[in-house]
């Protein structure tokens, strides 16, 4: 009990200091980054959604490694859950997977809608909220619904992982294409004065590729969990 009280006291110190530093922040509050991006973001990148502008252009380097983290986690989860001995088709006597009929029907109804919404979010990532990562996650959720409809669905994990890796390499190549076309690394491969519509080609292309990659990655992670020990 005393331990807990001391802990609360320690956290209280942190809170107090944070409280004071908030006063400082309100005084110092520096909007340089925000003003800069608001003023030049659209002209620089051709993306009306400034978040996408940052993710796919100003800080593309971060996004590449963000996709890389997913890639590593997928490989890691698969590696940890993989078994040396073959027990793929182990039969479990007491396993009962029975989804209610209502649920199955509902899932069948929702599945195409979610898939379409995911693609919408990906493709319009540069003009409305959304983008590759968000849309990819929505598509992955849609695919997961398939498991409700058919619990014994067989997925070829190895193939998905291979496609994911190839997609990652493709993303890296598309991102570095700008080095050839305009002498700058990891940015839009169209020249900086190109019209926003032209620049949008690059944004949509990269969003679609990232979306696919994220969807496949999350799908693989989920499948690895579902098949774990089976």
């Amino acid at each position: 009990m005393i331990k807990q009280l001391i802990l609360i006291g320690l956290l209280g110190i942190l809170f107090g200091v944070f409280f004071v530093s908030m006063q400082d922040i309100q005084e110092l509050y520096n909007t340089f980054g925000k003003d800069y991006i608001a003023a030049t973001g659209f002209a620089d990148t051709g993306s009306r959604n400034l978040v996408t502008a940052i993710l796919l252009d100003y800080r593309l380097f971060d996004s590449l490694f963000e996709a890389g983290i997913l890639l590593i986690a997928v490989s890691g989860v698969i590696w940890i859950s993989k078994h040396e001995s073959q027990e793929k088709n182990a039969q479990f006597m007491l396993d009962k997977f029975k989804t209610p009929d209502l649920f199955v029907t509902f899932s069948r109804l929702v599945y195409p809608l979610m898939l379409a919404f995911g693609f919408y979010v990906i493709i319009n990532g540069h003009v409305s909220p959304g983008g590759g990562f968000q849309g990819g996650a929505i598509i992955a959720t849609a695919i997961l619904i398939l498991y409700y409809i058919d619990a014994d669905k067989d997925t070829n994990i190895a193939l998905i992982v291979t496609i994911e890796k190839i997609l990652y390499i493709a993303i890296l190549l598309v991102a570095s294409l700008s080095l050839v076309s305009r002498g700058e690394l990891f940015t839009n491969f169209f020249v900086i004065d190109a019209s926003p519509d032209t620049k949008a080609i690059y944004l949509v292309l990269l969003n679609v590729m990232i979306g696919m990659k994220v969807a496949l990655g999350l799908w693989t992670i989920f499948t690895a969990f579902l098949k774990e020990g089976r």
Binding site: L14, L28, F32, G33, R59, E66, I72
Partner: protein
């Protein structure tokens, strides 16, 4: 064109890792060596062209405004770390060349980790640093559980969760920095703080940000209250991985310590005393636990903690000579600790046990390996003519004026000597069996590391002046005090071992069986952050 070399150093290993994963042929693993050669050549060319000019090494990705885009920067510090990591990765790649069936997956994670680590060294952006730290944490956790047996799972999850909570503190620090300066570019922040116009350096927000960044870094560097993940993770991982982690990846935290202190240079934050105390505690606690262990790898892992403490004792000074001593000890420790872990791996593989008591007669079964191991042991205990001696002496000269500081270092030295006297027993005794593991690659790796230890120990003056421009000619090997000190440490250590440790009294057993639970580690972490807050912000 030289500007793109840092990018190439990050992406060559990442790319080769992906290709190694994709192509299902055993011969693809040679690609790792091709990539390694390419990187080494590029790094050397880059160093040849390196002038120390800011404009030549500062590179904004995408050509955006430097305060908006992500930038990479190189200086002597980061370049020396780049060469060190290339060297250690060479050794680990050579060492693991013919071991393990799942070589491709292993190489995939290993090469990716190299790219990430090189990125962490060269980045000039705080959030980018955070991304690399997270990626490093995940990769190391996967590598720790790579063999998927025994206690590796519990070590992996302990490591993962504790480090993630540390990195989260780091992220909160980034938040405060961003809203104070409007940028997360390390260099810009440094300039603004040094100019002292926008901020005076006494703001609570700034100091709190410093505390939070340091909290995250301390977890990564395994400083005293948050060190408990290290022996667990490094003690159970495969030996090659342990060598890599202990030798290099832990130093990532110390590197960030230097970088962040550089960033806050204008803010008048008096960090020296606090981190000296933390370093001393880390060193003493590490050596205390190492003395009681019976498991070979646990002993080495606890010694990593104590050596990190010694490095910290050097780094936490304003005097550039002493800081250089700490820096040099990072390099020396990287060399001899990888050597010791890799050598221990060979021995453990041959004897099929990790217990020091059950291993005897290594000198007869594996004479070559044991010579290299002895070189490593002499280095870590600080024997003259070996590299550990040089950096320890520089640190010793820096803290000579203060009696307490000197004695702490001496006590740590005695502890180190004692536990390696204990470990040296494995060399003697009868030859138990006729095992002869003939692995040329492993011997080449061990030999190169041992050779590097000896070279650094004897030609330290030209190396220091050539690479860092630091004059260390006041450290001389041919001084009777040096031999005397070492002999005294060895003798006291031997007596201490014979009189106390060998009898295995109750206290020693208690310390050995002491286990810091996960919630207690987090509790100490919160305590540590609170103490730092009180020290740096309120006092």
């Amino acid at each position: 064109m030289m500007l793109y070399v840092p990018i190439a150093l990050i992406f060559i290993p990442v790319f080769s890792a992906l290709i190694i994963y994709l192509i299902k042929a055993q011969s693809i693993r040679y690609l790792a060596f091709v990539a390694q050669i390419a990187m080494t050549v590029l790094a050397i060319l880059y160093y040849e062209a390196y002038t120390g000019q800011f404009a030549d090494t500062f590179f904004v990705i995408g050509g955006w405004h430097e305060r908006v885009g992500i930038s990479l920067i190189n200086d002597e510090l980061s370049l020396s770390f780049v060469f060190l990591s290339l060297f250690i990765w060479w050794m680990v790649l050579i060492y693991t060349f013919n071991t393990g069936q799942n070589h491709r997956t292993f190489l995939f994670f290993l090469m990716f980790l190299q790219g990430v680590f090189l990125g962490l060294l060269q980045t000039n952006d705080l959030f980018n640093m955070f991304v690399f730290l997270e990626l490093m944490t995940i990769l190391v956790a996967i590598l720790v559980v790579f063999k998927k047996a025994g206690d590796s799972f519990r070590a992996g999850i302990y490591y993962l969760l504790l480090n993630i909570s540390g990195v989260m503190m780091f992220l909160i620090g980034i938040i405060l920095i961003y809203f104070t300066f409007g940028t997360i570019n390390v260099n810009s922040v440094q300039t603004v703080i040094a100019a002292g116009e926008l901020v005076s350096g006494d703001e609570v927000a700034l100091r709190f940000a410093y505390v939070l960044l340091m909290a995250g870094i301390s977890v990564k560097a395994a400083l005293f209250p948050v060190h408990s993940w290290l022996p667990k993770a490094h003690g159970v991982a495969m030996s090659a991985i342990s060598g890599l982690l202990s030798g290099l990846v832990v130093k990532g935290g110390l590197y960030l310590f230097l970088r962040v202190n550089q960033m806050f240079a204008g803010a008048n934050i008096d960090y020296a005393l606090f981190f000296y105390i933390i370093g001393a505690l880390t060193a003493v606690i590490g050596v205390m636990f190492a003395l009681t262990q019976k498991d070979m790898k646990q002993v080495l892992a606890y010694h990593t903690i104590s050596q990190v403490g010694i490095v910290m004792m050097g780094l936490s000074h304003y005097d550039p000579q002493t800081v250089y001593g700490g820096l040099l000890h990072i390099f020396n420790h990287a060399l001899f600790k990888s050597l010791l872990f890799l050598g221990a791996g060979v021995i453990i593989k041959a004897y099929k046990t990790k217990k020091i008591k059950e291993i005897r007669g290594v000198m007869r079964t594996m004479p070559v390996v044991s010579i290299f191991m002895i070189i490593g042991m002499l280095s870590i205990t600080g024997a003259p003519f070996f590299n550990g001696f040089i950096s320890k002496s520089i640190i010793k000269y820096g803290i000579q004026d203060s009696g307490i500081k000197y004695w702490i270092l001496f006590i740590v030295n005695i502890g180190t000597a004692t536990s390696f006297i204990k470990m040296a027993q494995v060399f003697f005794g009868p030859k138990p069996m006729t095992i002869r593991l003939r692995s040329l690659e492993q011997r080449i790796a061990l030999m190169t590391l041992a050779f590097a230890c000896v070279v650094l120990g004897n030609f330290y003056i030209p190396i220091s002046t050539g690479f860092f421009g630091v004059d260390v000619s006041h450290v001389s090997v041919f001084q009777w005090e040096a031999f005397f000190d070492y002999a005294v440490a060895l003798i006291i250590g031997f007596c201490f071992y014979k009189l106390v440790i060998e009898k295995d009294p109750l206290t020693v057993r208690k310390i050995r069986e002491f286990n810091l639970s996960f919630e207690m580690s987090n509790y100490l972490f919160v305590l540590y952050v609170a103490v730092m807050t009180v020290y740096f912000v309120l006092l």
